[in-house]
Amino acid sequence: MTSPKLSYHLALAAAVLLVAGCGRPASEEGTESVQPSTGETDISTGRKEPAAAPPKKLIVPSDAASQQTSLSLVESSRDVFPEIVTRNGDEHGYATILESLGSGCAALDIDRDGWDDVLVAGGGGFDEKVCISEPLYAVRSRRGRFEDVTAMAVAADQQAQFYNHGLSVTDVDSDGFMDVVLTGYQGVQLFRNRGDGTFASPETPGLQSSQWSASAAWGDFNGDACPDLLLVNYVNWSFDNDPPCYAADGKTRDNCSPKQFEALPDEFFLSTGDGGYADATEATGVRPDGMGLGLVVADIDMDGHVDAYIGNDIMVNFLYRNDGQGHLEDLSRTSGACVSRRGTPDASMGIDVADFDGDLLPDLWAANFEQENFALYRNQGHMLFRHSSDMTGISAIGSKYVGWGSAMVDLDLDGDHEIAVCNGHVVKHPRHAPVKQSMILLENGNGTYFEDVAHLVEATARPRNGRGLAVIDFDRDGRPDLMTSPVNEPAALLHNQTPVDGHWLHVDLIGRQSPRHPVGAILKLELSDGSVLLRLQKSGGSYASSSTSTLLFGFDTQRQARKLTVNWPSGAVSEIDTPEVDRRISLVEPRAGQSSGATPVPQ
């Protein structure tokens, strides 16, 4: 997020113009019975050639007038969402950079009824020159019908304590109920799910921050089966450090660029295993100079240990490789995944990780500022990435958007990932693009080419001041839906009504040797034509938001599912032969020496 900058290229071109604890519950077997597997545990984690091309479509570059898409997302006015409005306090007229960041949303099954519920970070406002919080909203799904349960779920004395932005979900205490951490200005707050549809926010030993965090993500970085927390922090703004900044007319106050401030160091909190945390920022090797906005944790190099990718504003992104002991190696200079195609830093906000081209390697995505290209980094293996926006047609969307929440998700159940991005400006009086911007919806043409079809889809064509974005299959029809939390606007549910002629399989993982929410797990679904679909259990991604933890597979009806393989962070492997499809299953991690199967979640 930045204002127009003087590039090195321009600078040289002078004369051109002249001319809780994570102990195990006693048993899991009682909650999810499993079928024995007949499969072997030996699976390849090495690189494969791209999967055989599905026969159905190949997008080739086309004129806008001739564009078509089968994707259909319709904004649902279901129940309470029009009343859930995130706030940034801009009505006070302070024009602070704090107002630029907006808030995120999360999809999680709070009460374990099998239907994903929703949390929305309410944001904040001002009381004179004191930052105040808006509430953490809780919206319960009753079989796909939503009900605002904020007052019941989060008691007033447990509510958000600070101007807030981000949500990240995991099961910190392995009780089977997803907990959530809230990020924001001068605070971080853990909400523990009490299992009765309510959250408590007691003080968490060791988990304090006086910085300004945008996003957070969980992962077991040191292999102790307890989820650790990585927090990305932004800049050192305060009302005492609030220089006046102006719009292009030189008179009207507007939000400052981050260039006016110093970066705040990111923070790493290592679980102590007893419900507390220890600040391990220095010990892990986290860089002190980021201006972090987006963050995703997953096993990017597929070596069994979770890694991290951080989208920074106006500076290079960070890619950390974890050695499994919680030591993070900074690969920002060597990976190719942290700069623009010109080799210069972009201003990244929303990020994600997924295998877009079916070569069984996780690729990286970064949604950037206007006058920059959004970046798709194709994984070449060994943590080397190549900037592929030109090759894949991403550059064709132009550089007029300010991109935030992002989701790489198979919306049409054909096996490959579309990319959805919500956009919106950071200043009140932008010159080059409107404050409210339409989304980007990149339809994936067989992993080789993307075409932006957002303008052809009702719900994505509508301009919003977009920020948070999360994936949720709220109606459990197999088609992933989206929800978004724009600034000063109601949260919106984008109902996926794409006509599909495909199968789907949704998988919930339950870790035992691994964390209960096994971030870092790698799933491969082998199909009858020999192609393989890769999915990653991740934390974070998007911007300040948390998508459903359910892993989503889709594929056309001409292919059958042959084998589902799960590589758990603990090193355990599960194999399910010929899994039944068009359903949602839970899969429990085998104990040492055991195998595991799957059983459908009650529909």
Partner: protein, 401 residues
């Protein structure tokens, strides 16, 4: 009847035509003819009324001798007279631009355009100064004014297209290039420049067939062939792209687009060895080019040579950091017009980036600001010794590839 005798214009009555003498002096100053300027100054000095004009010409003499501060002092003398005020501010603005004092230059030139909105040179220089400080919108505004003043000239539209392209505003840039193409003379090099820039934008917008259409009227020069090959590559017409690029690569071996496209085609054929060889060869000639380094990392990575690939990325990152440093210093220099040390640092970083001509301009700016400063003189002497070749023959522009 007027008789021209040397630089001095006399009427039939032998009375001096001061106005014509001054005009000739200005012309001579623009042509660098010192002797004729001196003659004009000599003549005009005979009249107290023409003292401001003498100050202008004296200032231009100082300027051509590289005595910028003295030039500004002389020009300041001419600011009080309405007859010379505009020229005085214009010339002072040009000097400040040369000294890379962009803010000062903008301030002076804006006063010129306030008095005379149709001063095309002032408008062009303002556009350049705004462009230099990264103020794209203001640069484009000024170019719009130039377009108004010279509606038949394709160049302002072309410049606008180039600026927008540089800022990756490809959609807007295509409009500017289209307007330029309508005005450029068919078959001229100007038309080729315009259409090549236009096609580049269309390729970046994924409108590959249109890019080919835009290039259709042009002769098959190597530059045009590279652009056509690019469009064909993205249209997956690999054979056509290969044929074109192979035909021009020998002549375009230093062209980044040609080399990187050829490497991509080798990768397409999985002929990594040829790709690595080509990119290594290009890097020997341009070792600090980030795009080449990125392409090298891509092809070495694809070939499974991860260590080399990471090495290229590392080199690329180092250069990018230097570029970032240059950009930051440049911004600082824009804000601080008196800091000689910043100019020296800019020269140093430019030299590290392998841009000695750019380094020279910043050193010259430092010398102009503080000619007696020992550190400046030392840096200037050292630089001249290290780059003696730069001081032989005419100066040429140096920009990033």
């Amino acid at each position: 009847m007027v008789v021209v005798a040397g630089a001095i214009v006399l009427s039939m009555s032998n009375a001096v035509d001061y106005e014509q003498t001054y005009a000739d002096g200005l012309q001579a100053a623009r042509l660098g003819n010192t002797q004729r300027v001196n003659e004009a100054v000599s003549v005009l000095s005979g009249s107290e009324a023409w003292r401001p004009q003498v100050a202008i010409l004296t200032g231009l003499q100082h300027k051509s001798a590289g005595r910028y501060r003295e030039a500004l002092v002389s020009l300041a003398e001419a600011q009080q007279s309405e007859a010379t005020r505009e020229e005085s501010f214009l010339q002072a603005g040009l000097i400040c631009y040369e000294l890379k004092e962009f803010r000062e230059a903008i301030s002076l030139l804006q006063r010129v355009t306030a008095w005379n909105a149709d001063n095309t040179l002032a408008r062009r220089m303002l556009a350049a100064a705004f462009y230099d400080i990264g103020a794209m919108d203001q640069a484009l505004d000024e170019i719009g004014q130039v377009t108004r003043l010279a509606p038949e000239d394709y160049r302002p539209h072309f410049m606008k297209g180039e600026i927008l392209k540089d800022y990756e505003q490809f959609q807007l840039a295509t409009g500017a290039f289209s307007a330029a193409a309508d005005l450029a003379v068919a078959g001229s090099t100007g038309e080729e420049d315009v259409r090549v820039g236009w096609s580049e934008c269309l390729v970046r917008l994924g409108r590959y067939s249109e890019a080919l259409d835009v290039l259709k009227p042009l002769q098959a020069t190597p530059v045009v062939m590279v652009r056509r090959a690019q469009a064909c590559y993205f249209l997956r017409q690999y054979d056509e792209a290969r044929t074109m690029i192979e035909a021009v690569l020998p002549q375009m071996s230093d062209d980044i687009d040609a080399v990187t496209l050829a490497v991509s085609l080798y990768e397409q054929e999985r002929d990594y060895s040829a790709g690595m060889q080509l990119i290594s060869s290009a890097l020997k000639r341009q070792p600090r080019n980030i795009r080449l380094l990125s392409a090298a990392a891509d092809v070495f990575g694809a070939a499974g040579q991860q260590e080399q690939a990471a090495g290229f990325r590392e080199r690329s990152a180092s250069i990018a950091e230097l570029q970032q440093r240059f950009s930051e210093l440049h911004q600082a220099a824009v804000q601080d017009i008196d800091d000689v040390g910043l100019r020296l640092q800019l020269a140093d970083v430019a030299e590290q980036l392998g841009k000695p001509r750019i380094a020279r301009t910043w050193l010259e700016a430092a010398v102009g600001m503080a000619p007696q400063d020992d550190a400046v003189q030392q840096a200037w002497t050292t630089f001249r010794e290290a780059h003696a070749d730069l001081f032989d023959g005419p100066r040429t522009n140096e920009t990033t590839p």
